[in-house]
Amino acid sequence: MIWHIFKKDVRLLWPMALAVVVTAALCAVRTTMLGYFDQPPVLDRLTAILPYLVYLGIAIVAVSVVHQEALSGPEEDWLTRPIRRSDLAWSKVLFMLLMVNLPLLLIDVAQQVALHFPLSVSVEVAVCRALVVVFVFSLPGLVLGVVTRSLIDAFVFGIAAAIGFMFLVLLATSVVNPGVFGIGNQAGMIWISIWAAGLVTIIGAATTLAFQYSARRTRLARGIGLAVVLVAMSTLAALPKTLTLRIQESLWGSANSGGITLRFNPAYQYASSTMEGTQAYGNGAVIPAAAIAARAAEMARIGKQMGSIRLPVSLSGLPSGDVLIADRAAVRIVSMSGNVLYEGAGACTRGISGVGSACMDNTLHMLAGAIEGSDTPSEQRLYLPISLYERIKNDPVRVEIMYALTRLVPQPSQTIAAIGGQRSLPEMGSCATRMDDDADEIQLGCLTNVDVPFCTNVVLEDPQTNKRNPAFHLCRPNYGPVHREGFEDAVSHSSLSIPFLDRSGLAHYPVGSAAIARARIILTVFDPVAHFRTTVAIPNIRLGDWQMPADSGS
């Protein structure tokens, strides 16, 4: 009878499903029309809500299809009909898959193929995205449907639950040690927390659905549903970072350091190489100067509330051109008598006016290998609770820094003309370049159906003189097996602005306006090849000697 119930629901709900599918198609058209540079901006702004309407629509359809035979309430006619509850549940799942998720998958494939992405990759990407949409929107939508009686009921329940959880998060972050949430985020491994939370959600949602369809006990089902959300949120926010590291390392398998060594090197005090900026790909949104200043002030304030240490370290054995990322730098401070005084991967302080918290991870500057045979200077920043720091800063202590490191190697470089270039770049997608409106930056825009590589070096070069502007190093580690830039659309857009003219006149670029017409962008993608652990031990040190100046907290 699954098919029979499905057909009845189709007869009743096809306009609603069609509206969602049409909106999704409009989203695909929107991405195609906005092109490489999100132009025109007015279209971008006016249609930015479309992807969210699709997701809202999916949830509404899921709730509505369940409400055709509502489980909550004793007046539904179907309750006294010879209808198997399991048939009913599967018919609803089938409806969502065939009437919503499958058409959306086909739209995704069509969009990618229309943009000349290979069919096999397009299907693979669309299936991945469809699974995400099923688990993130369709399944929770069905759960919301089984514990409510009407759309208004679902809306009210959803809003009330969201507000409740918001208060719970505020309460948790003010009661629980903020370090539980904020320290050791290990950006590249955050996918493990996301997948674990996703798994909890899927199992919990399926359990709630099965329970409510079999037992029809709405209050209890609501309780189960809310508990699932709570557990999923906790998993996402507070899964022990050491556990995620262990999981990631077990997936990587064992690896040795390959001769790479890190050591404390007092000779390099304040002599570290200029820190290479780590930036994220994005839409190039302009951040107001006031916001930047406010953030700097806040960072300085936070810096004063933590013990901030800057230890010079040197790296050897990293092949030239390779990159080393410290995924985690946990420190242990031991007194001369052997007592462990502190262990941690960072420190937290209360946020502005005591609301929320601000946490800083111990960081090792991203290191690029120097010339063979020589050391690369860098520095290790340690953040300690201010009370601990004040207590021990003048005492001799032993410091051990345990690193989890990832080595990345460069792939062959790719080039694209700085102005008017358009080509497909492996790992980057279909890209184009142009000069921005005030003629001081080159914009590189790419459309891709897979994720952009997580570490890329971008440099502007004049091929005639071989001069190069300072490189941009864009790095946002993600070691997950499947990752995408966003899930608004099957095709995502990434952009980067590369300056070549400083209108204030303070900076002079080797590749400036005169050469920009013939300049080209060189992109080098880095792929991870090895992950390993190493420890730097400093047997006797007075931390107060290595305190970071207050104005360099960022």
């Binding site: 009878m1 509502a70 007046e75 010879p82």
Partner: protein
Amino acid sequence: MTIQTSDLHKAYGRHEALRGLTLSVPEGAALALIGANGAGKTTTIKVLMNMLAPSAGMATILGVDSRRLSPREFAQIGYVSENQRMPGRLTVAQYLAHLRPFYATWDQDLERSTLAQLRLPPDRKIRDLSHGMRMKMALACALPFRPKLLVLDEPFSGLDPLVREEFMESLLEQAGAMTVLISTHELADIEDVATHVAFLDDGTLLFQEAMSELTGRVRRVQITLNQEAIKPPQTPASWLQVGALGNVLSFVETRYSQQELDARIATAVSGVRSVDVQLLPLRSIFIAMARNAQRKAG
């Protein structure tokens, strides 16, 4: 027994809607569940149909625990209620077509004749039907599979006399072949259908018996006296609604037999000139019982 309940309780928060209800409906019987508003009739039916879970006690329908009713049992149960929520966006014909495959015994000829008899417009959407038509629609969905048990919850509520008549005609055509449980206030309408009566008050069953026994034991009695009638200070427990007007004393005798009545009158009243004993319609019996229950409740 087609329906059997034992010490059934149902509470909504602190309010106890059913308090130890023990009820049985024999196979082939048509039991009228009567009682004032809020007596627990609808709650009883919803528990029987597993729409609500009992707080305590047990109910069996067609030999199966009401909490374990499966499609197999529901294929033999027709249910009609004034609160029944059917898919409003389907037409009458579409919904009947939707229900058909769920019932192995669905008789399409009976469906057609029932539709015609009830004068239901097949192409009209359910949400566009009037209240009366919706009730007829519910009946039209409950009869074509020839259920063993038909449960009707306030089926006549808000129906005009013509619709009520059409409803009853359709019901009566099928009634002989099935067990019927009907809760209603419209006692006149079920008098010809009901074989048994159960009287529910404040979640408790006051009595349950065959209709013939009930109508046989309840009589209105008017005693004409030689002198002015005065309500006796002590009356037999079986006398309800005792009243005096002029030289006439009247009451409802609930344990009637001519011999016993004469004995009770002789004990309680003197100067009897004549005694007039009349049969009571179900409605009057219900009112007498209900008022007595209310009086006892205080």
